[in-house]
Protein backbone atom coordinates (compact mmCIF):
# COMPACT_ATOMS: atom_id res chain seq x y z
CA UNK A 1 0.00 0.00 0.00
CA UNK A 2 2.79 2.38 0.88
CA UNK A 3 4.30 2.66 -2.66
CA UNK A 4 0.80 3.26 -4.07
CA UNK A 5 0.10 5.99 -1.53
CA UNK A 6 3.49 7.56 -2.24
CA UNK A 7 2.76 7.46 -5.97
CA UNK A 8 -0.66 9.02 -5.38
CA UNK A 9 0.84 11.86 -3.34
CA UNK A 10 3.49 12.32 -6.02
CA UNK A 11 0.79 12.59 -8.66
CA UNK A 12 -1.70 14.90 -7.01
CA UNK A 13 0.64 16.97 -4.84
CA UNK A 14 4.22 17.07 -6.02
CA UNK A 15 3.64 16.94 -9.78
CA UNK A 16 1.22 19.91 -9.85
CA UNK A 17 3.52 21.74 -7.48
CA UNK A 18 6.45 21.19 -9.83
CA UNK A 19 4.41 22.24 -12.86
CA UNK A 20 3.24 25.42 -11.15
CA UNK A 21 6.61 26.28 -9.66
CA UNK A 22 8.40 25.56 -12.95
CA UNK A 23 6.21 28.08 -14.77
CA UNK A 24 7.16 30.80 -12.32
CA UNK A 25 10.78 29.76 -11.97
CA UNK A 26 11.33 29.83 -15.72
CA UNK A 27 10.39 33.51 -15.70
CA UNK A 28 12.79 34.32 -12.87
CA UNK A 29 15.61 32.35 -14.49
CA UNK A 30 15.14 34.18 -17.80
CA UNK A 31 15.47 37.49 -16.00
CA UNK A 32 18.50 36.32 -14.01
CA UNK A 33 20.32 35.25 -17.15
CA UNK A 34 19.93 38.62 -18.85
CA UNK A 35 22.50 41.35 -18.43
CA UNK A 36 21.31 44.05 -16.01
CA UNK A 37 20.72 46.59 -18.80
CA UNK A 38 18.37 44.24 -20.72
CA UNK A 39 16.31 43.09 -17.80
CA UNK A 40 13.46 45.60 -17.75
CA UNK A 41 11.37 44.11 -20.60
CA UNK A 42 11.96 40.57 -19.33
CA UNK A 43 10.76 41.42 -15.82
CA UNK A 44 7.25 42.14 -17.08
CA UNK A 45 7.09 38.74 -18.80
CA UNK A 46 8.38 37.00 -15.70
CA UNK A 47 5.67 38.70 -13.65
CA UNK A 48 3.10 37.11 -15.96
CA UNK A 49 4.67 33.73 -15.17
CA UNK A 50 4.27 34.46 -11.45
CA UNK A 51 0.57 35.09 -11.97
CA UNK A 52 0.02 31.62 -13.44
CA UNK A 53 1.88 29.57 -10.80
CA UNK A 54 -1.03 29.03 -8.38
CA UNK A 55 -3.85 28.50 -10.90
CA UNK A 56 -1.67 26.13 -12.95
CA UNK A 57 -0.83 24.03 -9.89
CA UNK A 58 -4.50 23.95 -8.90
CA UNK A 59 -5.66 22.95 -12.39
CA UNK A 60 -3.08 20.17 -12.61
CA UNK A 61 -3.99 18.88 -9.16
CA UNK A 62 -7.72 19.01 -9.91
CA UNK A 63 -7.20 17.13 -13.17
CA UNK A 64 -5.17 14.41 -11.48
CA UNK A 65 -7.39 14.14 -8.40
CA UNK A 66 -10.90 14.53 -9.82
CA UNK A 67 -10.42 14.22 -13.56
CA UNK A 68 -12.13 16.24 -16.26
CA UNK A 69 -15.49 17.82 -15.47
CA UNK A 70 -18.42 17.84 -17.84
CA UNK A 71 -20.90 20.57 -18.65
CA UNK A 72 -23.42 20.89 -17.09
CA UNK A 73 -21.44 20.36 -13.92
CA UNK A 74 -22.23 17.24 -11.90
CA UNK A 75 -21.42 19.09 -8.66
CA UNK A 76 -21.20 22.79 -8.03
CA UNK A 77 -17.65 22.76 -6.70
CA UNK A 78 -16.55 21.44 -10.10
CA UNK A 79 -16.68 25.02 -11.34
CA UNK A 80 -13.45 25.69 -9.44
CA UNK A 81 -11.15 24.82 -12.38
CA UNK A 82 -13.07 27.28 -14.55
CA UNK A 83 -12.73 29.96 -11.87
CA UNK A 84 -8.98 29.26 -11.64
CA UNK A 85 -8.59 29.48 -15.41
CA UNK A 86 -10.35 32.87 -15.43
CA UNK A 87 -8.14 34.09 -12.56
CA UNK A 88 -5.06 32.93 -14.48
CA UNK A 89 -6.05 34.76 -17.66
CA UNK A 90 -7.14 38.00 -15.95
CA UNK A 91 -4.14 38.02 -13.58
CA UNK A 92 -1.59 37.47 -16.31
CA UNK A 93 -3.14 40.00 -18.72
CA UNK A 94 -3.29 42.78 -16.13
CA UNK A 95 0.16 41.90 -14.74
CA UNK A 96 1.63 42.67 -18.15
CA UNK A 97 -0.05 46.06 -18.36
CA UNK A 98 1.70 49.27 -17.35
CA UNK A 99 -0.94 50.27 -14.84
CA UNK A 100 0.17 51.46 -11.40
CA UNK A 101 -0.30 49.04 -8.49
CA UNK A 102 -3.63 50.51 -7.38
CA UNK A 103 -4.88 50.35 -10.98
CA UNK A 104 -3.88 46.70 -11.28
CA UNK A 105 -5.47 45.88 -7.94
CA UNK A 106 -8.76 47.63 -8.70
CA UNK A 107 -9.04 46.17 -12.20
CA UNK A 108 -8.36 42.58 -11.15
CA UNK A 109 -10.49 42.89 -7.99
CA UNK A 110 -13.47 44.30 -9.88
CA UNK A 111 -13.28 41.82 -12.78
CA UNK A 112 -12.61 38.68 -10.71
CA UNK A 113 -14.81 39.79 -7.82
CA UNK A 114 -17.66 40.60 -10.20
CA UNK A 115 -17.38 37.27 -12.00
CA UNK A 116 -17.16 35.36 -8.73
CA UNK A 117 -20.18 37.26 -7.36
CA UNK A 118 -22.19 36.33 -10.44
CA UNK A 119 -20.99 32.82 -11.31
CA UNK A 120 -19.22 31.19 -8.35
CA UNK A 121 -22.26 29.92 -6.49
CA UNK A 122 -21.96 27.07 -4.01
CA UNK A 123 -24.76 25.25 -2.14
CA UNK A 124 -26.84 27.17 0.41
CA UNK A 125 -25.69 30.46 -1.02
CA UNK A 126 -27.71 33.67 -0.87
CA UNK A 127 -27.23 37.26 -2.10
CA UNK A 128 -25.45 38.21 1.13
CA UNK A 129 -22.89 35.41 0.76
CA UNK A 130 -22.30 36.34 -2.89
CA UNK A 131 -21.88 40.00 -1.93
CA UNK A 132 -19.51 38.87 0.83
CA UNK A 133 -17.42 36.99 -1.75
CA UNK A 134 -17.15 40.11 -3.90
CA UNK A 135 -16.27 42.21 -0.86
CA UNK A 136 -13.68 39.74 0.40
CA UNK A 137 -11.97 39.56 -3.00
CA UNK A 138 -11.73 43.36 -3.07
CA UNK A 139 -10.51 43.63 0.54
CA UNK A 140 -8.13 40.65 0.63
CA UNK A 141 -6.88 41.61 -2.83
CA UNK A 142 -6.10 45.09 -1.55
CA UNK A 143 -4.23 43.75 1.47
CA UNK A 144 -2.28 41.14 -0.49
CA UNK A 145 -1.32 43.60 -3.21
CA UNK A 146 -0.17 46.04 -0.51
CA UNK A 147 1.88 43.25 1.06
CA UNK A 148 3.39 42.34 -2.31
CA UNK A 149 4.43 45.97 -2.74
CA UNK A 150 6.06 46.07 0.67
CA UNK A 151 7.57 42.61 0.93
CA UNK A 152 10.12 40.96 -1.34
CA UNK A 153 9.15 38.30 -3.85
CA UNK A 154 10.44 35.54 -1.58
CA UNK A 155 8.42 36.84 1.35
CA UNK A 156 5.24 37.17 -0.72
CA UNK A 157 5.61 33.66 -2.13
CA UNK A 158 6.29 32.23 1.33
CA UNK A 159 3.34 34.05 2.92
CA UNK A 160 0.93 32.92 0.24
CA UNK A 161 2.33 29.37 0.48
CA UNK A 162 1.59 29.44 4.21
CA UNK A 163 -1.94 30.73 3.56
CA UNK A 164 -2.76 27.97 1.05
CA UNK A 165 -1.24 25.32 3.33
CA UNK A 166 -3.43 26.70 6.13
CA UNK A 167 -6.48 26.57 3.88
CA UNK A 168 -5.54 22.98 3.02
CA UNK A 169 -5.53 21.98 6.69
CA UNK A 170 -8.89 23.71 7.22
CA UNK A 171 -10.27 21.79 4.20
CA UNK A 172 -9.22 18.51 5.84
CA UNK A 173 -10.84 19.63 9.12
CA UNK A 174 -13.98 20.55 7.15
CA UNK A 175 -14.04 17.00 5.69
CA UNK A 176 -13.16 18.09 2.16
CA UNK A 177 -9.98 16.07 1.69
CA UNK A 178 -9.62 16.39 -2.08
CA UNK A 179 -9.82 20.18 -2.03
CA UNK A 180 -7.30 20.08 0.82
CA UNK A 181 -4.87 18.19 -1.40
CA UNK A 182 -5.38 20.77 -4.17
CA UNK A 183 -4.67 23.61 -1.74
CA UNK A 184 -1.48 21.84 -0.63
CA UNK A 185 -0.44 21.54 -4.29
CA UNK A 186 -0.89 25.31 -4.74
CA UNK A 187 1.05 25.91 -1.53
CA UNK A 188 3.90 23.67 -2.66
CA UNK A 189 4.07 25.41 -6.04
CA UNK A 190 4.29 28.84 -4.39
CA UNK A 191 6.90 27.58 -1.92
CA UNK A 192 8.94 26.21 -4.83
CA UNK A 193 8.72 29.53 -6.63
CA UNK A 194 9.72 31.37 -3.45
CA UNK A 195 12.75 29.18 -2.85
CA UNK A 196 13.94 29.48 -6.44
CA UNK A 197 13.41 33.26 -6.39
CA UNK A 198 15.28 33.49 -3.09
CA UNK A 199 18.23 31.48 -4.35
CA UNK A 200 18.51 33.56 -7.53
CA UNK A 201 18.08 36.82 -5.62
CA UNK A 202 20.86 35.83 -3.22
CA UNK A 203 23.05 34.93 -6.16
CA UNK A 204 22.34 38.38 -7.55
CA UNK A 205 23.23 40.03 -4.23
CA UNK A 206 26.50 38.10 -4.17
CA UNK A 207 27.26 39.18 -7.75
CA UNK A 208 26.56 42.81 -6.88
CA UNK A 209 28.82 42.61 -3.83
CA UNK A 210 31.62 41.21 -5.96
CA UNK A 211 31.17 44.04 -8.46
CA UNK A 212 31.16 46.57 -5.63
CA UNK A 213 34.31 45.14 -4.07
CA UNK A 214 36.01 45.11 -7.45
CA UNK A 215 35.10 48.72 -8.31
CA UNK A 216 35.35 50.11 -4.78
CA UNK A 217 32.46 52.48 -5.34
CA UNK A 218 30.90 53.50 -2.05
CA UNK A 219 27.48 54.43 -3.48
CA UNK A 220 27.02 51.02 -5.07
CA UNK A 221 28.03 49.40 -1.82
CA UNK A 222 25.26 51.28 0.01
CA UNK A 223 22.72 50.19 -2.63
CA UNK A 224 23.73 46.59 -2.19
CA UNK A 225 23.43 46.90 1.56
CA UNK A 226 19.93 48.37 1.25
CA UNK A 227 19.08 45.64 -1.20
CA UNK A 228 20.22 43.06 1.28
CA UNK A 229 18.05 44.53 4.00
CA UNK A 230 14.93 44.99 1.91
CA UNK A 231 15.19 43.33 -1.49
CA UNK A 232 11.82 44.66 -2.66
CA UNK A 233 13.27 48.07 -3.45
CA UNK A 234 16.65 46.90 -4.59
CA UNK A 235 18.28 45.92 -7.80
CA UNK A 236 18.88 42.43 -6.46
CA UNK A 237 15.11 41.81 -6.48
CA UNK A 238 14.87 40.08 -9.83
CA UNK A 239 11.09 39.78 -10.29
CA UNK A 240 8.96 41.77 -7.85
CA UNK A 241 5.32 40.70 -7.49
CA UNK A 242 2.72 42.78 -9.25
CA UNK A 243 -0.52 43.89 -7.64
CA UNK A 244 -2.37 41.99 -10.39
CA UNK A 245 -0.70 38.66 -9.56
CA UNK A 246 -1.19 39.21 -5.82
CA UNK A 247 -4.86 40.18 -6.24
CA UNK A 248 -5.62 37.22 -8.50
CA UNK A 249 -3.93 34.98 -5.90
CA UNK A 250 -6.10 36.55 -3.20
CA UNK A 251 -9.22 35.96 -5.31
CA UNK A 252 -8.29 32.27 -5.68
CA UNK A 253 -7.79 31.99 -1.91
CA UNK A 254 -11.17 33.67 -1.22
CA UNK A 255 -13.02 31.37 -3.63
CA UNK A 256 -11.36 28.27 -2.13
CA UNK A 257 -12.21 29.43 1.38
CA UNK A 258 -15.86 30.01 0.43
CA UNK A 259 -15.99 26.59 -1.22
CA UNK A 260 -14.59 24.94 1.92
CA UNK A 261 -17.11 26.85 4.02
CA UNK A 262 -20.02 25.90 1.75
CA UNK A 263 -19.32 22.18 2.07
CA UNK A 264 -18.09 22.26 5.65
CA UNK A 265 -18.98 19.27 7.82
CA UNK A 266 -16.37 19.92 10.46
CA UNK A 267 -15.95 22.48 13.19
CA UNK A 268 -14.35 25.12 10.96
CA UNK A 269 -16.02 28.49 11.47
CA UNK A 270 -16.13 31.46 9.05
CA UNK A 271 -13.73 33.26 11.39
CA UNK A 272 -11.11 30.56 10.79
CA UNK A 273 -11.20 31.02 7.02
CA UNK A 274 -11.12 34.81 7.43
CA UNK A 275 -8.18 34.75 9.88
CA UNK A 276 -6.06 32.71 7.48
CA UNK A 277 -6.96 34.87 4.48
CA UNK A 278 -6.01 38.02 6.38
CA UNK A 279 -2.82 36.61 7.93
CA UNK A 280 -0.48 38.28 5.35
CA UNK A 281 -1.88 41.59 6.62
CA UNK A 282 0.16 41.06 9.78
CA UNK A 283 3.26 41.14 7.61
CA UNK A 284 2.50 44.82 7.01
CA UNK A 285 3.17 45.39 10.70
CA UNK A 286 6.83 44.72 10.02
CA UNK A 287 7.73 47.96 8.34
CA UNK A 288 10.70 48.53 6.11
CA UNK A 289 12.61 50.89 8.41
CA UNK A 290 12.40 48.33 11.21
CA UNK A 291 14.37 45.88 9.10
CA UNK A 292 16.80 48.31 7.53
CA UNK A 293 20.29 46.94 7.77
CA UNK A 294 19.11 43.41 8.51
CA UNK A 295 19.99 40.42 6.33
CA UNK A 296 17.40 39.38 3.70
CA UNK A 297 16.63 36.16 5.53
CA UNK A 298 15.65 38.18 8.60
CA UNK A 299 13.07 40.18 6.65
CA UNK A 300 11.56 37.05 5.12
CA UNK A 301 11.58 35.24 8.46
CA UNK A 302 9.86 38.12 10.27
CA UNK A 303 7.09 38.47 7.72
CA UNK A 304 6.52 34.79 6.98
CA UNK A 305 6.89 34.03 10.67
CA UNK A 306 4.12 36.43 11.66
CA UNK A 307 1.89 34.94 8.98
CA UNK A 308 2.72 31.42 10.17
CA UNK A 309 1.90 32.25 13.79
CA UNK A 310 -1.59 33.48 12.82
CA UNK A 311 -2.21 30.46 10.59
CA UNK A 312 -1.02 27.95 13.19
CA UNK A 313 -3.05 29.60 15.95
CA UNK A 314 -6.16 29.46 13.74
CA UNK A 315 -5.59 25.80 12.84
CA UNK A 316 -5.00 24.81 16.46
CA UNK A 317 -8.21 26.61 17.42
CA UNK A 318 -10.21 24.88 14.67
CA UNK A 319 -8.64 21.48 15.37
CA UNK A 320 -9.26 21.70 19.10
CA UNK A 321 -12.93 22.50 18.45
CA UNK A 322 -13.08 19.49 16.16
CA UNK A 323 -11.43 17.22 18.72
CA UNK A 324 -13.74 18.45 21.43
CA UNK A 325 -16.82 17.53 19.46
CA UNK A 326 -15.66 14.00 18.79
CA UNK A 327 -16.52 11.98 21.83
CA UNK A 328 -14.84 8.95 20.31
CA UNK A 329 -11.40 10.44 20.92
CA UNK A 330 -8.72 8.46 19.10
CA UNK A 331 -11.47 6.75 17.15
CA UNK A 332 -11.70 9.91 15.05
CA UNK A 333 -8.21 9.39 13.63
CA UNK A 334 -8.58 5.76 12.72
CA UNK A 335 -11.96 6.16 11.07
CA UNK A 336 -11.03 8.88 8.59
CA UNK A 337 -9.79 7.40 5.30
CA UNK A 338 -7.54 10.39 4.62
CA UNK A 339 -6.05 10.25 8.10
CA UNK A 340 -5.60 6.49 7.78
CA UNK A 341 -3.69 7.02 4.59
CA UNK A 342 -1.46 9.70 6.05
CA UNK A 343 -0.83 7.59 9.19
CA UNK A 344 0.11 4.63 7.04
CA UNK A 345 2.50 6.60 4.86
CA UNK A 346 4.56 7.65 7.89
Amino acid sequence: MLPEVALYLLQVLLLPALIGAAAGIVGVVFVARRPAVERAPMVRRAQVAQAVVAPLAFLASFWLETGPVGIPLAERWHLLPFAMAVAMVVGSLVARSRLPWWGQWSLVAVVLGGMAWKFVVFPASNPYIQAGLLGSIVLVGLLWSAVSRDACSVGMAMMSAIVFAGLGVLMILANFASLGVMSFAVSAALAGLGMASGALNLREVARMRREVEASGATQASEDAAIGASCPGDAACELVPWTAAAATSLAAIACVLALCGHAYNYGEVRPLHWAAILLSPFFALLVCKPCLRGAKPIVGVAWRAGLCLVVVLATIINAASRDGGSDAAGSDGVGSDPMMDMLEESK
Binding site: V5, N175, F176, A177, Y263, D326, A328, D331, S335
Partner: protein, 224 residues
Amino acid sequence: MRTLILVPSLIAVPVLALAAIEPTVAPVAVVQPSALGAMAAQPAPAAQPAAASMTLDPVHSMALFRIQHLEAGQFWGRFNGVEGSVSWPLDDASAPMIKAIAKVEQVDTGSEKLDGNLKGPNFFNAKEFPEIGFTTTAGTRVGERHWTLTGDLSLHGVTKPVTVDCVVTGVGKGPTGRKVGFECQLTIKRSEFGMTWGIEKPPKALGDEVKLVIGLEADETKAE
Protein backbone atom coordinates in the same frame (compact mmCIF):
# COMPACT_ATOMS: atom_id res chain seq x y z
CA MET B 1 -85.48 14.11 32.24
CA ARG B 2 -82.17 12.71 33.49
CA THR B 3 -83.21 9.25 32.28
CA LEU B 4 -84.04 10.65 28.89
CA ILE B 5 -80.48 11.90 28.52
CA LEU B 6 -78.76 8.86 30.05
CA VAL B 7 -80.43 6.17 27.92
CA PRO B 8 -79.45 7.55 24.52
CA SER B 9 -75.97 8.25 25.88
CA LEU B 10 -75.51 4.67 27.07
CA ILE B 11 -76.55 3.43 23.64
CA ALA B 12 -74.48 5.95 21.72
CA VAL B 13 -71.17 5.26 23.49
CA PRO B 14 -70.83 1.57 22.48
CA VAL B 15 -72.12 2.34 18.99
CA LEU B 16 -69.53 5.03 18.48
CA ALA B 17 -66.82 2.81 19.99
CA LEU B 18 -67.71 -0.01 17.60
CA ALA B 19 -67.61 2.38 14.69
CA ALA B 20 -64.12 3.51 15.71
CA ILE B 21 -62.73 -0.04 15.72
CA GLU B 22 -61.57 -1.15 12.27
CA PRO B 23 -62.62 -4.58 11.12
CA THR B 24 -59.71 -7.00 11.53
CA VAL B 25 -60.83 -9.15 8.64
CA ALA B 26 -60.83 -8.03 5.04
CA PRO B 27 -64.20 -6.72 3.96
CA VAL B 28 -66.17 -9.19 1.87
CA ALA B 29 -67.30 -7.86 -1.45
CA VAL B 30 -71.06 -7.84 -1.76
CA VAL B 31 -72.19 -8.89 -5.21
CA GLN B 32 -75.64 -7.87 -6.37
CA PRO B 33 -77.76 -10.81 -7.58
CA SER B 34 -78.46 -9.04 -10.85
CA ALA B 35 -74.78 -8.92 -11.65
CA LEU B 36 -74.13 -12.63 -11.07
CA GLY B 37 -75.56 -13.70 -14.41
CA ALA B 38 -73.40 -11.29 -16.35
CA MET B 39 -70.24 -12.40 -14.50
CA ALA B 40 -70.93 -16.06 -15.10
CA ALA B 41 -71.02 -15.44 -18.85
CA GLN B 42 -67.49 -14.05 -18.91
CA PRO B 43 -64.19 -15.75 -18.01
CA ALA B 44 -63.38 -15.10 -14.35
CA PRO B 45 -60.76 -12.41 -14.03
CA ALA B 46 -57.82 -13.07 -11.72
CA ALA B 47 -58.56 -11.88 -8.23
CA GLN B 48 -56.73 -8.59 -7.66
CA PRO B 49 -57.26 -7.54 -4.08
CA ALA B 50 -56.94 -3.81 -3.57
CA ALA B 51 -53.39 -2.87 -2.59
CA ALA B 52 -53.11 -1.55 0.94
CA SER B 53 -51.53 1.81 1.22
CA MET B 54 -48.79 1.86 3.83
CA THR B 55 -46.41 4.43 5.24
CA LEU B 56 -42.89 3.53 6.29
CA ASP B 57 -42.25 3.80 10.01
CA PRO B 58 -39.01 5.84 10.12
CA VAL B 59 -38.19 4.69 13.65
CA HIS B 60 -38.05 1.05 12.57
CA SER B 61 -36.79 1.53 9.02
CA MET B 62 -33.13 1.85 8.19
CA ALA B 63 -30.65 1.17 5.41
CA LEU B 64 -27.32 -0.44 6.19
CA PHE B 65 -24.37 -0.22 3.84
CA ARG B 66 -21.22 -2.28 3.76
CA ILE B 67 -17.95 -1.33 2.08
CA GLN B 68 -14.41 -2.66 2.20
CA HIS B 69 -11.93 -0.38 3.97
CA LEU B 70 -8.23 -0.35 2.98
CA GLU B 71 -8.63 -3.75 1.32
CA ALA B 72 -9.17 -5.23 4.77
CA GLY B 73 -12.34 -5.23 6.85
CA GLN B 74 -15.92 -4.82 5.76
CA PHE B 75 -17.13 -1.61 7.30
CA TRP B 76 -20.81 -1.09 8.12
CA GLY B 77 -22.76 2.13 8.42
CA ARG B 78 -26.44 2.98 8.35
CA PHE B 79 -28.93 5.60 7.37
CA ASN B 80 -31.49 6.07 10.10
CA GLY B 81 -35.07 7.20 9.67
CA VAL B 82 -35.85 5.89 6.21
CA GLU B 83 -39.17 7.35 5.06
CA GLY B 84 -41.54 6.53 2.25
CA SER B 85 -44.53 4.42 1.33
CA VAL B 86 -45.49 0.90 0.26
CA SER B 87 -48.40 -0.21 -1.84
CA TRP B 88 -49.11 -3.92 -1.46
CA PRO B 89 -52.21 -6.09 -1.06
CA LEU B 90 -50.52 -7.95 1.83
CA ASP B 91 -50.41 -11.23 -0.05
CA ASP B 92 -48.43 -12.54 -3.00
CA ALA B 93 -50.99 -11.46 -5.59
CA SER B 94 -48.84 -8.60 -6.71
CA ALA B 95 -45.44 -7.14 -5.98
CA PRO B 96 -44.94 -4.63 -3.21
CA MET B 97 -44.36 -1.23 -4.70
CA ILE B 98 -41.86 0.39 -2.36
CA LYS B 99 -40.85 4.01 -2.39
CA ALA B 100 -38.12 4.70 0.15
CA ILE B 101 -36.11 7.82 0.88
CA ALA B 102 -33.02 8.03 3.09
CA LYS B 103 -31.65 11.38 4.18
CA VAL B 104 -27.86 11.67 3.89
CA GLU B 105 -27.84 13.84 7.02
CA GLN B 106 -29.03 10.75 8.91
CA VAL B 107 -25.90 8.72 8.14
CA ASP B 108 -24.59 7.02 11.25
CA THR B 109 -21.31 5.14 11.47
CA GLY B 110 -20.74 5.50 15.19
CA SER B 111 -18.05 8.12 14.58
CA GLU B 112 -19.03 11.76 14.33
CA LYS B 113 -15.90 12.55 12.33
CA LEU B 114 -16.50 9.81 9.79
CA ASP B 115 -20.15 10.85 9.50
CA GLY B 116 -18.97 14.35 8.56
CA ASN B 117 -16.57 12.89 6.01
CA LEU B 118 -19.34 10.83 4.41
CA LYS B 119 -21.67 13.84 4.24
CA GLY B 120 -18.94 15.89 2.54
CA PRO B 121 -18.37 16.32 -1.19
CA ASN B 122 -15.85 13.47 -1.40
CA PHE B 123 -18.67 11.02 -0.74
CA PHE B 124 -22.43 11.69 -0.61
CA ASN B 125 -22.25 15.49 -0.91
CA ALA B 126 -25.26 16.05 1.32
CA LYS B 127 -25.37 19.77 0.59
CA GLU B 128 -26.19 19.12 -3.06
CA PHE B 129 -27.75 15.67 -2.90
CA PRO B 130 -29.53 15.47 0.44
CA GLU B 131 -31.62 12.37 -0.33
CA ILE B 132 -31.11 8.84 -1.59
CA GLY B 133 -34.26 7.42 -3.12
CA PHE B 134 -35.57 4.13 -4.43
CA THR B 135 -38.82 3.72 -6.36
CA THR B 136 -40.09 0.31 -7.44
CA THR B 137 -41.14 0.04 -11.04
CA ALA B 138 -41.88 -3.70 -11.29
CA GLY B 139 -41.52 -6.96 -9.40
CA THR B 140 -41.19 -10.68 -10.04
CA ARG B 141 -42.26 -13.28 -7.49
CA VAL B 142 -39.46 -15.75 -6.76
CA GLY B 143 -41.00 -17.58 -3.82
CA GLU B 144 -43.43 -17.26 -0.95
CA ARG B 145 -43.27 -13.65 0.20
CA HIS B 146 -40.07 -13.29 -1.77
CA TRP B 147 -39.78 -10.81 -4.63
CA THR B 148 -37.23 -9.49 -7.01
CA LEU B 149 -38.01 -5.84 -7.43
CA THR B 150 -36.68 -3.59 -10.13
CA GLY B 151 -36.67 0.13 -9.63
CA ASP B 152 -34.79 3.37 -9.91
CA LEU B 153 -32.12 4.22 -7.37
CA SER B 154 -31.23 7.92 -7.10
CA LEU B 155 -27.88 8.48 -5.43
CA HIS B 156 -25.42 11.36 -5.66
CA GLY B 157 -27.47 13.04 -8.36
CA VAL B 158 -27.50 9.96 -10.60
CA THR B 159 -30.57 7.78 -11.17
CA LYS B 160 -30.04 4.23 -12.39
CA PRO B 161 -32.20 1.10 -12.57
CA VAL B 162 -31.32 -1.53 -9.98
CA THR B 163 -32.58 -4.98 -8.97
CA VAL B 164 -33.43 -5.58 -5.33
CA ASP B 165 -33.97 -8.90 -3.60
CA CYS B 166 -36.86 -8.32 -1.21
CA VAL B 167 -38.36 -10.62 1.42
CA VAL B 168 -41.50 -9.93 3.40
CA THR B 169 -40.34 -10.70 6.92
CA GLY B 170 -43.80 -10.67 8.46
CA VAL B 171 -47.25 -9.15 8.74
CA GLY B 172 -48.25 -8.16 12.22
CA LYS B 173 -50.47 -5.83 14.13
CA GLY B 174 -49.39 -2.45 15.31
CA PRO B 175 -51.18 0.04 17.51
CA THR B 176 -52.70 1.74 14.49
CA GLY B 177 -53.36 -1.19 12.17
CA ARG B 178 -51.46 -3.83 10.27
CA LYS B 179 -47.69 -3.69 10.06
CA VAL B 180 -45.56 -5.27 7.36
CA GLY B 181 -41.83 -5.87 7.50
CA PHE B 182 -39.50 -6.07 4.51
CA GLU B 183 -35.83 -6.88 4.19
CA CYS B 184 -34.29 -5.92 0.90
CA GLN B 185 -30.74 -6.41 -0.34
CA LEU B 186 -28.80 -5.16 -3.31
CA THR B 187 -25.22 -4.54 -4.33
CA ILE B 188 -24.16 -1.52 -6.34
CA LYS B 189 -20.95 -0.08 -7.71
CA ARG B 190 -20.67 3.42 -6.28
CA SER B 191 -18.47 4.52 -9.19
CA GLU B 192 -21.53 4.15 -11.44
CA PHE B 193 -23.17 6.87 -9.35
CA GLY B 194 -20.21 9.23 -9.60
CA MET B 195 -18.79 8.43 -6.17
CA THR B 196 -15.21 7.59 -7.03
CA TRP B 197 -13.20 9.00 -4.14
CA GLY B 198 -11.00 6.35 -2.54
CA ILE B 199 -11.26 3.77 -5.32
CA GLU B 200 -8.23 4.81 -7.35
CA LYS B 201 -7.46 8.21 -5.85
CA PRO B 202 -6.34 7.69 -3.10
CA PRO B 203 -5.60 4.14 -4.25
CA LYS B 204 -7.69 1.36 -2.72
CA ALA B 205 -8.69 3.36 0.34
CA LEU B 206 -12.26 2.10 -0.06
CA GLY B 207 -13.95 -0.47 -2.23
CA ASP B 208 -16.18 0.23 -5.18
CA GLU B 209 -18.83 -2.39 -4.36
CA VAL B 210 -21.35 -1.40 -1.74
CA LYS B 211 -23.79 -3.88 -0.28
CA LEU B 212 -27.06 -2.44 0.96
CA VAL B 213 -29.36 -4.17 3.43
CA ILE B 214 -32.59 -2.27 3.91
CA GLY B 215 -34.92 -3.11 6.76
CA LEU B 216 -38.36 -1.56 6.40
CA GLU B 217 -41.45 -1.54 8.55
CA ALA B 218 -44.63 -0.17 7.05
CA ASP B 219 -47.88 0.81 8.78
CA GLU B 220 -51.16 0.45 6.99
CA THR B 221 -52.60 3.83 6.25
CA LYS B 222 -56.24 4.28 7.18
CA ALA B 223 -58.50 5.54 4.44
CA GLU B 224 -59.68 9.06 5.15
